[in-house]
């Protein structure tokens, strides 16, 4: 399982980060390409952070937040969800496949969903290969 694909994962403290933790404690296997950055809420993620990650060499960027209705701060994930649309729209215009950017709602108990999502995302990125920015 050694390849150079780099995934930057921005995970909210209250749900998805917990999900990753659950996957870890349960020793669920998934590709080790993800570099996790913990944020307090998906609502504090802005598109610039995604772009910065790509600029710095990420091949894929993953955002994980609480399920709709479960956000610790009420509506942060809803706001993020809207923002994510323009990220997709913009990436396309810059020759970055929008599949390189993914977001999911994963709760702290959903270790298995975290594992599955990482495996899927890794597979997608393997197909796409490393990102070459012009």
């Amino acid at each position: 399982m050694s390849d150079d694909l780099k995934i930057v994962g921005l995970l909210c403290n209250w749900c998805c980060y917990g999900g990753a933790d659950t996957a870890g404690t349960a020793r669920m296997q998934y590709s080790p390409n993800i570099r996790i950055i913990r944020v307090m809420c998906s609502g504090r993620i802005n598109p610039s952070m995604i772009f910065k990650a790509f600029q710095e060499g990420a091949d894929g960027v993953f955002v994980g937040g609480c399920h709709i209705g479960d956000c610790h701060y009420d509506a942060g994930n809803y706001k993020w969800s809207r923002r994510s649309k323009i990220v997709e729209d913009i990436l396309e215009e810059f020759g970055i496949e929008k599949e390189r950017f993914r977001h999911e709602w994963i709760s702290a108990s959903e270790g298995e969903k975290f594992q599955r999502t990482m495996e899927e995302f890794h597979k997608t990125l393997t197909k796409l290969g490393p990102l070459e920015l012009e």
């Binding site: 802005n46 598109p47 610039s48 772009f51 910065k52 790509f54 600029q55 709709i68 809803y78 969800s81 809207r82 649309k85 323009i86 990220v87 729209d89 913009i90 990436l91 215009e93 810059f94 020759g95 970055i96 920015l133 012009e134």
Partner: protein, 365 residues
């Protein structure tokens, strides 16, 4: 919403005004009654191709601002938010200016209670340099002899000092790369309905201004100016109202056709490869009001070593901040030293985002 034809009761204004001098009269009424601290309008410079915004506080000075100047836009919204935030001001807006002001109101940069927005319908503007060239090439006239320009029935018409008129089809001009600025060719907002009133020559008889009253404040303006004895009004005929809406629809259709033709052809990455990160497009943009504290200047994005800058970390960031609010004023194209069609790219994304919003009504996934 209702319609009136209006005409100035002041002969000098009627003479100097583009149509019925209604706009200048209403501005004079606002100043004379002390309803505003000042008025922002345009004052022509050396020729009809160029005009500067001026802040008028004495209604005597309004006369030299009367008339229509088909030059590039003038950042009216930006000026109001920068210099007149605490003042009561009235100003004229084309639809793009109106949209910029609306965006700035949303961002709490302009207080709606402090302003009067006098809208001007707009068929398009012409860049000063290419405008002069165009007169020379297509009209075989001396650009300095032109006293006014007008767009009507698909033609670009100029009036010369001796009173004669010359007309050329807009299509013919624009096919050759002249005519209206590129963003104006795409612009599908022709009547500024979020201004208090929208004034124009469409549907107007000679010597009158056709006014669409958009809100209560607009109605108060007309009533007040009439009461002050500076404006007279009458009702337009049904045929005039219908004719006006027909022209509007034709213009919008033309714009949509242009959008369909230009959006797919722009190759963003090729265009951005010429960028020299001069920030001129950002500094001029009315929506980028926060440029003094711009994210692009933060240490984590500032990248002076790279020319061109990594597009996603430069224009990508700007696009993500404000493209959904782009008002397609085209000022970024005007200032780009590398002739990058910046507004086309921003406007395209604005439409893409907006269309998706319409289709999916933002379903949360």
């Amino acid at each position: 919403m209702s319609y009136v034809l209006a005409k100035s009761q002041n002969n000098e204004i009627l003479e100097a005004g583009e149509c019925g001098g209604a706009v200048t009269s209403i501005l004079k009424y606002l100043l004379d009654e002390g309803l505003v601290d000042g008025v922002l309008a345009l004052s022509p410079q050396d020729d009809v191709y160029d005009a500067f915004p001026v802040f008028v506080t004495d209604s005597e000075d309004l006369l030299k601002t009367a008339g229509s100047y088909h030059c590039a836009p003038t950042m009216i919204g930006d000026l109001v938010q920068k210099y007149f935030i605490d003042k009561k001001v009235a100003f004229t807006v084309k639809p793009c200016d109106m949209r910029a002001v609306e965006e700035l109101i949303t961002r709490h940069k302009i207080n709606r209670d402090n302003i009067y927005m006098i809208g001007l319908n707009c068929g398009g503007t012409v860049s000063p340099v290419s405008g002069r060239k165009m007169i020379d090439l297509f009209y075989e006239a001396n650009p300095d002899d032109v006293v006014s320009e007008e767009i009507d029935k698909g033609q670009f018409i100029i009036e010369l000092a001796d009173g004669s008129e010359e007309a050329v089809k807009i299509h013919d001009l624009e096919n050759e790369g002249y005519g209206r600025r590129n963003n104006c060719q795409r612009c599908d907002v022709k009547i500024p309905r979020k201004a208090n009133i929208a004034c124009g020559n469409w549907g107007a008889e000679d010597g009158w201004t056709f006014i669409e009253i958009n809100d209560e404040k607009g109605q108060e303006l007309i009533d007040g100016a009439k009461k002050a004895g500076i404006l007279e009004t009458k009702s337009p005929s049904d045929a005039a109202v219908e004719g006006r809406s027909k022209v509007e629809n034709i213009m919008i259709k033309m714009a949509k056709k242009n959008q369909d033709a230009t959006y797919p052809t722009v190759s963003e990455m090729t265009e951005w490869s010429r960028c020299i990160s001069c920030y001129a497009c950002r500094d001029v943009c009315p929506i980028c009001w926060c440029f003094e504290n711009c994210e692009l200047n933060k240490p984590y994005f500032k990248d002076e070593a790279n020319i061109p800058p990594v597009p996603i970390a430069f224009q990508g960031v700007r696009l993500s901040h404000m493209s959904f609010s782009c008002v397609d004023c085209g000022q970024c194209d005007d200032v780009c030293p590398m002739d990058i069609p910046v507004s086309l790219i921003f406007d395209k994304l604005q439409k893409k985002y907006y269309d998706r919003k319409k289709k999916q009504s933002y379903e949360v996934i």
